[in-house]
């Protein structure tokens, strides 16, 4: 195996690491107990995994064809920007539509504030 082939394997290696992260987040999506804990798995590690995958594709095109893809960079930026916002919106909607916390959860800091707010209305 020549050095050229080894360099060309960097991109696919990044892609493989990224898909491993995505798979771990899917396992978390199955095994964690309620919406609020599942949103950790669904937002953080999926974002990291897809970022690694897109970066690996970017590196593959740069190394093999010397093609700098602005669209892939925009995709990385966009996923990095929107996935946490989406997770935040889902958790907010879940709490306001009275989805109960898991039985193991210890603390609920938002409850007194929302009660106060409800009294004002």
């Amino acid at each position: 195996m020549s050095a050229r082939e080894l360099i060309e394997l960097i991109g696919p290696l990044f892609i493989f690491i990224g898909t491993i992260f995505t798979f771990l987040s899917a396992i978390g999506l199955i095994r964690l107990p309620d919406v609020y804990t599942r949103s950790h798995a669904a937002s953080k590690s999926t974002t990291l995994g897809v970022l690694c995958t897109l970066f690996g594709a970017f590196l593959f095109f740069v190394i093999t064809e010397e093609f700098v893809s602005i669209r892939l960079l925009l995709g990385i930026f966009f996923v990095f920007l929107t996935a946490p916002i989406a997770a935040h919106m889902i958790c907010r909607a879940a709490y306001r539509s009275n989805v109960v916390l898991a039985e193991q959860s210890v603390q609920d800091d938002l409850k007194p504030f929302l009660k106060e707010e409800g009294m004002k209305d």
Partner: protein, 94 residues
């Protein structure tokens, strides 16, 4: 080695999409299903990137942007409609 890495990552992606589909089917509450659908959308973005590397073409790179934007807008619309009952709020000025 290249084929092994690529097919391995495609298999992992398919498995994780099936896991999300299980959550969509089973999910006890509505936000669970929305969250799983959002994760499926983001995972699809990675799948499109892998296919464009596997086929060695630049033609699919627009699909990444479009799937990302559509999945984001769909998630936001679902979450707002779940929270307030409407997607777009109109403030009435009397």
């Amino acid at each position: 080695m290249f084929e092994f890495l690529m097919s391995g990552s495609l298999i992992l992606l398919v498995l994780s999409i099936f896991a999300c589909l299980y959550r969509v089917w089973k999910g006890p509450s509505m936000p669970d299903r929305i969250q799983a659908l959002d994760t499926i959308g983001i995972t699809l973005v990675g799948g499109v990137a892998i296919f464009s590397v596997l086929l060695g073409t630049h033609a699919f790179l627009e699909v990444i942007l479009i799937v990302g934007i559509l999945s984001f807008i769909g998630t936001i619309a679902f979450a707002r409609s779940l929270e307030r009952g409407v997607v777009i709020e109109r403030k009435r000025v009397d």
